[in-house]
């Protein structure tokens, strides 16, 4: 085993040498059209976007800010541009069942043309039909039918009337009908005159009156038949005239759309329907009742203001791709159920909500049909029913527009059931890893519908090649965001900050957004300084500004330590007391905070009490670390006899939850110090987890933790002996601040890399650890010897206590 190693300045920071960047400013660099080292995700996106089979939709997962949206957008737009344009979709009236509008696809851009053609046809028909029906030809033929009917009626009536008159019977109107009376000249015979007539004459009159009544009754009963026949003839005439009026208009359109069978079929239906509904083209505003005017709820400019003819023969261009090239790529920022799947709108008429096929509105899936739809997974899942609706559409591969009320049987009013539209779309969900894994484990359908996962790395290797690509990425971002170019020193500094962001000197953070934000802020400072290029000074200013804006809580904590409200010693020696280091994350800002850890020991049954756990402030990983300590003590010092100590460990002045095992090495040191009676130098702080063999293992946030202790020491005045102990395996992660590095270089602060707890104890106590001899005994004068002796003493005392009268077994 090698001894502890004090780290040289060079090990504390992996700088980026601007000389390795062969450009002056990023303006010279070609744009980067892909992300740096995201090959796995890129290939997954390419695969998912290219497989046309059902279920090959994509879930792009990764940390926010890693360029997922950019890459997806860039790739899909490039790919879609090479593909054929998607169809337009139009809803049309279903003349057989208006509740179920028909839908037809048309080549891109033809939907609007059809709508315009139909509007023109309606306009033309509105002029042509009334003109045809006002023509002399029509009027004459219609009037001749009316006249013929009238003549027939009159002839029949006249015949009866004539016969009645010959019999001395007249026909008289009453308020509700027709009566018959004996007449003398032009006057009806009164009762007195009638009674004066001879009996035979009276009998004759009564009989004749009855007969005339019957004859007239027969004539009147024929009247409805004659009227019906005349109506039929007028209908035929109307049909003939209407066909003549619109025939040429329809024929013209039929020829224009001859290549589109559904349109031709529709035009045929329109032709037949117009003939049966010519009234729509002949109606005038007079036909609107006062009630309609009053309660119509018809707003000028509103669609429902359309004439009845437009409402019947108009075209609802649901999806219009006119002017677009390639397949559609739709980014839906507000993926509600209706925004995704479309909706049916209603208008108020006569106090009731009504709708028609013109009020069917497209959703994002309609717009993306034949192309790609990109949706943020978190937004999708936070919208009620949206995810279910999307899955239903993808499973059935068709789009049905229905209201939520209908879909979930919450309302039972009559509404539209538009014909479903075949769906062929590639859906790309972009979300965090947690969402992806949750969906995979909780939703069995998810895996069948989103078969391809594109996993974005959070960080990439800081290789020479990637460093150069990163520089190009910065140049591209600067151009894309209209920022000043960066000089190579600024680029080098941002690359270093990328490594710091990754928490690893050998990696670069893949999160582009924070880098872009730094560039934007640096650009602001450059603008303020009147510079044409962003230099390292502006980058430093931007970085310092970000820390300054976010460090309020860190500063308050440090202030309380310096005011000795929070007790942290940075000098002197204490038994059973060590400075541990914790990392705190507040929003995007992470900082380290020293924490006093103490241990007390006494005779006991071998139990190490983790006070944090006892009061339920310690998390399970923290508790695991403490149990490991017990195992280490037992195995190292007391393998032949029961561990007979009672120990307690506590994070002093810690009032929140503690999680993680990064303090387990510090806890072990405190415990060993207490057992050995070896005071620990408070000039040091230590971080690292420990295993059962006493080996020190890597932890997270090493940079911030070192800096947290350094800030306190510096504030109190650097003594030259202060420093921090970190696991050797964390050395590669170091990207320490410049002020820390300067202090180390001047010998005022020290960073040690340790491999095991013995190395830590030697530094902390100044007492040699000692290695066991062949007999397993530690040399005298070593702290290990003292620990074993103390534990042996506890064991002896425990045994003696067990022999005393009244003691238990």
């Amino acid at each position: 085993m090698s001894g502890p190693r004090e780290l040289p300045v060079a090990a504390l920071y992996r700088s980026c040498d601007p000389r390795t960047l062969d450009f002056e400013t990023t303006e010279e660099l070609p744009d980067l059209d892909h992300l740096v080292a995201q090959n796995r995700a890129t290939q997954a996106i390419q695969l998912g976007a290219s497989i046309a089979q059902k279920g090959y939709n994509l879930f792009v997962l990764g940390q926010e800010g890693t360029g997922r949206h950019t890459l997806v957008k860039q790739y899909l737009e490039q790919k879609a541009a090479q593909e054929k344009p998607a169809s337009d979709w139009c809803y049309l009236n279903n003349f057989d069942e208006s509740r179920k509008p028909d839908v037809i696809p048309l080549p891109s851009g033809r939907g609007r043309a059809l709508a315009e053609d139909m509007a023109q046809l309606i306009d033309d028909a509105r002029a042509a039909i009334p003109a045809a029906f006002e023509s002399e030809d029509y009027r004459t033929r219609r009037e001749s039918i009316e006249s013929e009917l009238q003549e027939e009626q009159e002839a029949a009536f006249e015949e009866v009337s004539k016969r009645a008159k010959e019999r001395g019977i007249g026909i008289i109107q009453t308020p509700t009908g027709i009566a018959f009376a004996p007449i003398r000249g032009d006057e009806a015979l009164g009762p007195e005159e009638f009674n004066q007539l001879p009996d035979e004459e009276r009998e004759r009159i009564v009989k004749e009156t009855e007969e005339v009544g019957k004859e007239l009754q027969a004539v009147m009963r024929q009247a409805p038949k004659r009227v019906r026949e005349a109506r039929r003839r007028v209908r035929e005439l109307d049909r003939e005239i209407a066909l003549w009026a619109v025939g040429s208009l329809i024929e013209e359109l039929t020829q224009k759309y001859a290549a589109h069978e559904p349109v031709v079929a529709y035009l045929q239906r329109v032709s037949e329907d117009i003939v049966g509904n010519i009234g729509l083209f002949r109606s005038s505003p007079e036909d609107r009742s006062p009630m309609q005017e009053l309660f119509g709820g018809l707003i000028p400019g509103d669609q429902t203001r359309e004439s009845p003819a437009t409402q019947r023969y108009g075209v609802n261009v649901l999806v219009d791709h006119e002017g677009t090239t390639g397949a559609p790529v739709v980014f839906e920022d507000n993926p509600t159920f209706q925004q995704l799947l479309g909706r049916i709108e209603y208008v108020s008429q006569m106090g009731a909500l009504v709708t028609n096929f013109l009020l069917v509105k497209a959703g994002a899936l309609h717009q993306a049909n034949g192309g790609y739809l990109v949706v943020d997974a978190r937004k999708l899942l936070s919208q009620p029913f949206a995810y279910d609706g999307l899955k239903r559409a993808l499973q059935s591969r068709e789009l049905r527009i229905e209201s939520l009320g209908q879909a979930y049987s919450l309302v039972s009013t009559v509404s539209l059931e538009p014909a479903p539209i075949p769906l062929s779309v590639k859906v790309v969900l972009i979300g965090e890893r947690l969402l992806y894994y949750l969906l995979q484990s909780l939703d069995p359908e998810f895996s069948t519908l989103f078969k391809v996962a594109a996993d974005f790395d959070d960080e990439v290797d800081r290789s020479e090649e990637n460093t150069q690509l990163y520089a190009r990425l910065l140049g591209t971002l600067a151009k894309r965001n209209s920022l000043r170019p960066l000089d190579r020193f600024a680029v080098a500094r941002i690359i270093e900050e990328g490594a710091r962001e990754a928490g690893d000197g050998e990696k670069l953070s893949a999160r582009i957004r924070p880098v872009t934000d730094v560039m934007r802020e640096a650009d602001f400072w450059a603008q303020k300084a009147g510079a044409d290029v962003i230099g390292i000074g502006e980058v430093e200013e931007a970085l310092a500004g970000r820390v300054q804006r976010n460090s309020r809580i860190r500063d308050r904590v440090q202030e309380e330590i310096l005011r000795e409200t929070l007790l942290i010693d940075t000098a002197g020696k204490q038994v059973g007391q060590v400075n541990g280091l914790a990392a705190l994350q507040i929003g995007e800002f992470r900082f380290g905070r020293p924490t006093r850890i103490t241990a007390r020991v006494s005779l006991g049954s071998g139990k190490v009490v983790d006070i944090e756990r006892e009061v339920e402030l310690g998390g399970p990983i923290h508790s695991k670390g403490v149990f490991i300590l017990s195992a280490y003590l037992a195995a190292t010092y007391s393998s032949d006899e029961p561990l007979s100590l009672a120990a307690s460990l506590v994070f002093e002045q810690s009032y929140g939850g503690i999680e993680g095992d990064s303090a387990s090495c510090a806890e072990l040191c405190a415990l060993l110090s207490a057992l050995a009676g070896a005071p620990i130098d408070q000039s040091f702080a230590i971080t690292g987890s420990v295993n059962q063999r006493g080996e020190v293992q890597a932890i997270g946030g090493a940079n911030e933790k070192i800096e947290g202790f350094f800030d306190i020491c510096r504030a109190r005045g650097l003594s030259g002996s202060q420093g921090v102990l970190i696991p050797t395996s964390n050395v590669k992660h170091l990207m320490l601040r410049e002020d820390v590095r300067e202090a180390v270089e001047q010998g005022q602060f020290h960073v040690y890399a340790i491999d095991d707890v013995d190395q830590a104890m030697e530094i902390l106590t100044g007492v040699p650890a000692g290695r066991p001899g062949p007999d397993g005994a530690f040399p005298e004068g070593t702290y290990n010897h003292r620990v074993r002796a103390r534990l042996a003493d506890f064991a002896t005392k425990r045994r003696e206590l067990g022999k005393e009268p009244g003691a238990g077994p």
């Binding site: 009917l149 007249g170 026909i171 109107q173 509700t176 009376a181 009806a188 009159i205 009227v227």
Partner: protein, 265 residues
């Protein structure tokens, strides 16, 4: 020619109702003519005495106009029906008068049209519905045919003016123009050939009125009534004779036509 109707002089307008759907139509015509508070409206509901005499006959029967079933004609029932129709006519008149803010009166008159007209000699305008009662005329004979007419056909029926060579004809033409304007209908002026001297003057009047559809038809006097009938006007406007509202002339028009008649003094 004299302008449409003298808008300044208060007018007394008499409306003769005869019951049935024609009353609603004549009320519509009345509404088109009345627009001034100063106009005074007098309604007369004409009850045919002959009908009551008929109802007293023990064998009197009536055929329903709608169902064609026969039923006894009873005096009491007849009285009640007349009363209902008179009330309806009175209500229609009152509505028109109240909208215009005009004074109005209403009375029932049992007798013949001539006797009713005799008491209305001071009227400026006389509106007559289709005749009912007396012996059924050709207007009644055509009643079933009218069931056939569509709303649209009804709307396109013109206003007709019969321009006899009498002094009141110019006022009748003015009233006709006004009615055509108000109702949006076309106007046909029937001119007996013996009065064709006024053709150009009528033409000028129509041109200055700028009606979208207006025509003059010169017709032999013998064929005049038939021509008017064939034109199937919605309203016929005639001038009153030198002696006022001569019942024989108006009676003939009423019997032969199926439209309200406006007689202008």
């Amino acid at each position: 020619m004299t302008p449409a109707i003298d808008e300044k002089t208060p007018r007394r307008i008499v409306v003769v109702f005869g019951g049935g759907t024609a009353d609603a139509r004549i009320a519509g015509v009345l509404a088109s003519l009345v627009s001034r508070r100063e106009d005074e409206l007098a309604g007369v509901f004409l009850e045919d005495r002959g009908l009551f005499r008929l109802a007293e006959l023990p064998f009197a029967l009536e055929l329903s106009r709608v169902t064609t079933t026969s039923r006894p004609l009873m005096t009491r029932e007849l009285e009640r029906q007349m009363k209902v129709q008179a009330l309806r006519a009175e209500r229609a008149l009152r509505d028109v008068a109240e909208r215009a803010g005009s004074a109005w009166s209403f009375q029932r008159h049992r007798g013949r049209l001539a006797s009713a007209l005799a008491s209305l000699r001071d009227a400026d305008l006389l509106l007559l519905g289709a005749l009912r009662g007396a012996l059924a005329s050709s207007s009644e004979r055509g009643a079933t045919a009218s069931l056939f007419r569509s709303r649209e056909a009804e709307r396109t029926r013109p206003v007709a003016v019969l321009c006899d060579p009498i002094e009141s004809s110019d006022r009748a033409l003015g009233a006709g123009i006004r009615l055509a304007e108000k109702t949006g209908r076309g106007l046909i002026v029937f001119l007996p050939v013996d009065a064709s001297a006024s053709f150009h003057e009528i033409q000028r009047t129509l041109q200055s009125a700028q009606l979208p559809r207006a025509a003059i038809r010169a017709v032999e006097r013998a064929a005049l009534l038939g021509s008017v009938r064939r034109a199937a006007p919605a309203i016929l406007v005639v001038g009153a004779g030198e002696t006022g509202f001569e019942e024989p002339r108006i009676g003939v028009l009423q019997k032969e036509l199926r439209c309200p008649i406006v007689v202008v003094r």
